[in-house]
């Protein structure tokens, strides 16, 4: 059967090539759509996983870092530092803003940090020093053609770009890093202007390092007992919550689009195999005349589809990587990761399944083939 299969495929190389290209386009589509979802979740989990603290303290009821609004009173730091098992406390502020320049608007997330929770990788320039210095995500820098030394306006204040970072964006929002001293400075200046006492100084979170022998659960519980207005989570929990939130926001539409991609793939398989059956009606009829049963011919068709799909999968995966690179180059805020083992395995299994479903579709046509009629042509 395999020899016949290979002969069939090699007999009409142009048709085989076209079929592979059609299937590869469908595989590419599924993988690119899967890659969008995987990229979105990878971006969401990246920042919390890299903050490098043992625990994160948030306002009670807040469970996320991405898209979260949290404000903690000034007294929190002293209370945390006085908690047994706590070695060091690092304040962190988060502020969603709209960056506006050159007639364009982009939602950004300003992260204010002291010494932990800063930019993950600075690829150009250096980390932000106090004194209105800022490190911006490469996606934002690219979009607004910003470089080290350029000025940007954030919340009505002017900052100088000290560095460019990568991998600091989530939910299609680039992160911008400033020193918390600057945020406090701005809060105090504004409070003096308005005459109001600031309720907090822009600190929304605290990163906590534990003393060497301290236990995570014990210290977390102890903090929550001392400070009822806060919740304490491990960075991994926050990463999981951020991913869960991303799934709730985008999961439905992403899944719908992936299903659409699979329907397209199935359609390609059916068209390719149906046209193959029609083109080879005489040959299939001859095989029936010499004793091949309809199920055996369908299995042969299924194997042919699987073989085509296997080659198409490799081509499609390579094409998906190229398309992903193209999308990331055109829109640097998107991360498209089609070459993730989970996505590849899911797509491979789905492709194999639709190969066989597609092979079963022309079964009726094969069943109708009359050997006598074939010989009479």
């Amino acid at each position: 059967m395999w020899r016949l299969l290979l002969r069939n495929l090699l007999d009409d190389p142009a048709r085989t090539l076209l079929s592979i290209l059609g299937l590869a386009a469908a595989v590419m589509l599924v993988l690119v759509f899967e890659g969008f979802s995987e990229g979105l979740y990878a971006q969401l989990r990246a920042y919390p996983e890299r903050v490098g603290a043992d625990l994160v303290v948030l306002r009670a009821g807040v469970r996320n870092l991405a898209a979260a609004t949290s404000a903690l009173p000034q007294s929190t730091r002293a209370e945390l530092e006085a908690t047994p098992g706590v070695e060091r406390v690092h304040p962190l502020g988060g502020l969603p803003l709209i960056y506006e320049a050159n007639g364009q608007r982009t939602p950004i997330y300003v992260v204010a940090f002291e010494d932990k929770g800063g930019p993950p990788v600075v690829v150009e320039g250096g980390p932000p020093e106090p004194g209105r210095r800022v490190v911006i995500d490469a996606g934002l820098a690219d979009k607004y053609e910003l470089g080290v030394g350029d000025e940007v306006e954030l919340a009505g204040e002017r900052f100088v770009v000290a560095g460019i970072t990568t991998g600091a964006a989530a939910l299609f929002t680039p992160y911008v890093f400033v020193r918390i001293e600057d945020l406090i400075d701005i809060a105090i200046t504004r409070a003096m202007e308005t005459g109001d006492a600031p309720a907090n100084l822009g600190v929304g979170f605290y990163l906590v390092d534990l003393a060497p022998a301290a236990q995570l659960e014990d210290v977390g519980a102890s903090i929550e007992r001392r400070l009822p207005a806060v919740d304490v989570l491990a960075p991994a929990e926050i990463a999981a919550n951020d991913v869960q939130m991303g799934r709730r926001m985008m999961g439905g539409v992403m899944q719908l689009l992936v299903v659409v991609a699979y329907v397209i793939a199935l359609l390609v398989v059916v068209i390719v195999l149906s046209s193959s059956v029609l083109a080879r009606a005489r040959e299939l009829g001859t095989l029936k005349a010499v004793g091949a049963s309809t199920p055996r011919l369908i299995v042969s068709l299924g194997l042919e589809a699987s073989l085509l799909m296997s080659v198409a999968f490799v081509v499609g995966a390579a094409a998906a990587a190229a398309v992903a690179a193209g999308i990331e180059a055109a829109s640097p805020m998107y991360l498209v990761t089609p070459w993730v083992p989970g996505a590849l395995l899911r797509t491979a299994a789905g492709a194999l399944l639709i190969s066989w479903v597609g092979a079963a579709m022309p079964a009726h046509r094969i069943g109708q083939l009359d050997p006598a009629e074939v010989f009479a042509r």
């Binding site: 299609f172 919550n241 926001m249 359609l267």
Partner: protein, 371 residues
């Protein structure tokens, strides 16, 4: 040849239906992908569109709602109300946050605090309960409540506070910005923003131009920005599109391209299948013009039938999707359908011409030998 074209379609109904179905499903997918994008583009600005305001007033430097932080002093609300030409003002408090439902599930939402007297800033269509939440209450989007298994009377957590669900609103659930309404006083204390407002919805007196009123407010009230509702909605759409909806656009583009390739492949395959019969017809004396005409009739019929099938299927699929994935709104765009019909017809014409040209060049002897 026209008779042959019609007769061969009737005789080979299976192939005809198969080709029309292939084209129809591919067109349906393009319609659907475009519909998802258009639906998402509409729902992201559902709140400012439904809110009954001529002018939006907010913190200086802010010009939209999505992912923006705006807070203005309560005195400025009063100053806005005093600007000549203002009919009424209605403040809201607003924050992007999460609704925590049973089991710790978190749902990202716009949390909008409205006053008890709100008439312009609250939910615009209710599925259950009262539209204006009182202290300790929340009005959630019906779609979110369904997905989370929440009913009127249940408790949810917003910004660390337990609130009782007092109503379910319609048209407020979307993938990027679902809208939950809470009592103004509650959000005031949750945000520690006593006496402040995030936005002020301004109604203009009859005959007062909204743009002129926005300008007057910007001049008269220090520390605020004021824009017309049209500008505010467009600003919001521009920002919100970047928050996921553009991904849908990008994915729709890639998917639509592949679907159009399928249409071309189907029409070419169907036309190519007829080439041997046409070659024989040509050998028997049929003119090239009649060959072109016969193939053209078949391709255009398949393209038209496929298009009609796709429109019918689209109308069937829409409510199924909106029930299965309530955060996805599908809005079909008539111009997209028009373009698709045009593209299908053009592809059909190209397929017919290419295959007919090939047939016209075929040696009659080769046609009879079957090569």
């Amino acid at each position: 040849m026209l008779r042959w074209a019609i007769k061969s379609m009737i005789v080979d109904r299976g192939a005809l239906i198969g080709a029309a179905a292939g084209v129809g499903v591919a067109l349906l997918l393009v319609l659907l992908l475009e519909g998802v994008f258009a639906g998402a583009s509409d729902t992201i600005v559902a709140y400012p569109q439904a809110a009954n305001a001529d002018v939006w007033v907010m913190q200086k430097g802010v010009a939209n709602m999505h992912m923006a932080s705006s807070l203005i002093d309560g005195d400025l609300v009063g100053q806005t109300a005093d600007v000549p030409g203002v009919e009424s003002v209605e403040p809201i408090l607003y924050v992007n946050s999460f609704i925590e439902t049973e089991g710790g599930a978190l749902w990202f939402a716009y949390i909008v605090g409205i006053t008890l007297a709100a008439t312009n800033s609250g939910p615009w269509e209710m599925a259950a309960g009262a539209p204006v939440p009182r202290a300790g209450e929340a009005v959630l989007p019906e779609g979110l409540a369904k997905k989370a298994g929440v009913r009127v009377g249940d408790e949810v957590r917003v910004l660390g506070r337990e609130l009782r669900v007092s109503g379910l609103s319609r048209g407020t659930f979307s993938m990027a910005n679902s809208i939950a309404f809470v009592a103004y006083a509650d959000l005031e204390s949750m945000r520690e923003a006593s006496g402040a407002a995030s936005y002020v919805l301004v109604r203009a007196r009859p005959g007062v131009d909204a743009e002129a009123l926005a300008e007057a407010i910007r001049t008269a009230v220090p520390g605020v920005n004021a824009v017309t509702s049209t500008v505010f909605i467009e600003n919001d759409r521009e920002v919100a599109l970047q928050m996921g909806v553009n991904v849908v656009r990008l994915m729709s583009g890639v998917g639509g391209g592949v679907a159009l390739l399928i249409i071309a492949f189907t029409l070419f395959t169907h036309a190519a299948r007829r080439s041997r019969e046409l070659a024989i017809a040509k050998a028997l004396g049929a003119t090239s013009r009649s060959l072109y005409g016969a193939l053209l009739v078949q391709s255009l019929f398949i393209a038209s039938a496929g298009f009609a099938a796709s429109v019918v299927l689209a109308l069937i699929v829409e409510p199924i999707i909106e029930t299965a994935v309530p955060e996805v709104a599908v809005t079909y765009v008539p111009t997209t359908a028009g373009w698709l019909l045009l593209v299908s017809l053009v592809v059909g014409i190209v397929a017919s011409v290419v295959i007919a040209q090939r047939v016209a060049r075929t040696d009659p002897a080769a046609a009879f030998s079957g090569s």
